[in-house]
């Protein structure tokens, strides 16, 4: 609608006024200082969210400022496109990343993700984001060398945006709503693309119901990644035994509750598994059987006090093989993999959300 209430014409673009308060500062340096002093950033410098940059982000995603992206269900925070765009600009995103950012926010707002609990908990998890589909390459995401760390602007800034949304939009301020005892470095950013080019396996999002050829994100409230290594076997069972052992260690030293674990399998391990004809389904079946402990095993890790009379009870890391998210990523050499454990059993479940690209030109 135009200002006088007349219907807009087909060519007219509605420009929604921005709802956010604004501040005048001398320059970009002063803007950064303002955000640092107010605790509006993660401690790293930000790109100042000017109206022009935020509007460019919204335009790129074909969103109006007041469009609703999601609602955090517990505290009923209605997350508008404007606030997500501000976070994305601050994090350093390019406008073309916005469809991925929006999918991440939508995924985090799914009730089963339990965003409030994962944010507020002393457990200190971070949204672990896995991106699948053609948008990975279109926006230059990294899936190979240094896959879980710094190598790509898109990985870094998309992950960081989720943190800035939690911080500023949901009020997840450490020591206030965010009660994490330790947290982990993934709370700065924790975003990986799956290496679909160098893996014959079904991409994670497709396994979770997204049509092949479409882009999607999967978000898991994850603890810190546990890196593992095994370079001394060509036996797929031996390789996976190291992953299962890492998960058993987590059951014993962190939390006994089963839930969504993610395993990131590097190329060298994948080569062993694939040469032996193992699919992701086979991997999940094996790990489901092997990643289990007895309650009595707690005696060996300082937790004898909670064994009680149930020492023979068996605890599996996964309720079923489907609880395991198998992600192909990592550089070409090195017998490495990683386990990303769940924050707190099934209190938060992994959520897969399609990336709405809305047309071939975006």
């Amino acid at each position: 609608m135009t200002g006088d209430g007349m219907p807009e014409t087909e060519n007219e673009v509605r420009t929604t006024p921005l709802a956010s308060a604004s501040y005048d500062v001398d320059d970009f340096f002063a803007a950064n200082e303002l955000y640092q002093e107010n605790g509006w950033t993660d401690g790293l410098p930000i790109v100042p969210p000017t109206e022009a940059l935020v509007r460019a982000c919204l335009d790129r995603a074909r969103l109006h400022a007041d469009d609703l992206v999601g609602v955090e269900p517990v505290r009923r925070r209605r997350i508008t496109a404007e606030k997500v765009a501000i976070a994305a600009v601050m994090a350093g995103c390019r406008g073309e990343y916005m469809p991925v950012v929006l999918a991440v926010v939508r995924a985090m707002c799914a009730p089963e993700f339990g965003l409030h609990g994962t944010t507020a908990s002393t457990g200190g998890s971070a949204p672990f984001i896995v991106v699948n589909g053609p948008i990975r390459r279109a926006i230059g995401m990294n899936a190979t060398h240094n896959a879980l760390a710094n190598a790509s602007r898109a990985n870094a800034t998309i992950g960081r945006t989720s943190r800035l949304v939690i911080l500023n939009v949901l009020g997840g301020v450490p020591g206030r709503l965010d009660r994490s005892t330790l947290g982990h470095p993934g709370k700065f950013t924790f975003c990986v693309a799956e290496d679909e080019e160098e893996s014959p396996w079904t991409p994670l999002a497709v396994e979770r119901g997204v049509p092949a050829g479409e882009s999607a994100v999967t978000v898991l409230a994850g603890g810190a990644p546990h890196q593992l290594m095994n370079e001394w076997t060509r036996d797929p069972r031996q390789v996976l035994e190291t992953y299962a052992a890492t998960m058993r260690a987590n059951l014993l030293t962190y939390s006994i509750w089963p839930g969504n674990y993610a395993i990131v399998i590097g190329r060298q391990h994948r080569d062993v598994l694939i040469a032996a004809g193992w699919s992701k389904h086979d991997v999940r079946e094996y790990v489901h059987e092997r990643a289990r402990v007895t309650r009595g095993d707690w005696r060996g890790v300082g937790k004898a006090a909670v064994v009680g009379g149930k020492g023979d009870d068996v605890h599996a890391a996964l309720r079923s093989p489907d609880d395991l998210l198998v992600v192909a990523a990592g550089g070409p050499a090195g017998g490495f993999g990683a386990v990303v454990p769940p924050w707190y059993g099934t209190k938060s479940l992994a959520v897969t959300m399609r990336v709405e690209t809305g047309g071939a030109d975006r």
């Binding site: 956010s20 955000y35 000017t50 009660r179």
Partner: protein
């Protein structure tokens, strides 16, 4: 050159929440104890019951949230609605 930057925070929506009026006397009162499922809560409430009985509380209604990080279900709130005052566990 001055630049104008935007506030990243989202203001809470809806009516501000207010605490119910404080209980003026514990004599003969019924007190609700809402357990947030954290490990120390039940023991703490057991002790609290002993203390509050000494101060005249007649009855307790103990309820447990099904999940520590999600809202209390409507039916549990309804069960607690008739009491004179509620103690609700938050955090650890």
């Amino acid at each position: 050159m001055t630049i104008r930057v935007l506030d990243p925070r989202l203001d809470p929506e809806g009516e501000p929440l207010a605490l119910a009026p404080a209980v003026t006397s514990l004599d003969g009162a019924t007190i609700g104890l809402l357990d947030n499922t954290k490990i120390g809560t039940a023991g703490f409430y057991n002790h609290l019951e002993t203390l509050l009985r000494r101060h005249g509380v007649r009855e307790f209604v103990r309820r447990r949230k099904p999940d520590l990080s999600r809202p209390v279900p409507r039916d549990v709130l309804d069960e607690l609605a008739a009491v004179d005052g509620i103690i609700s566990g938050i955090g650890d």
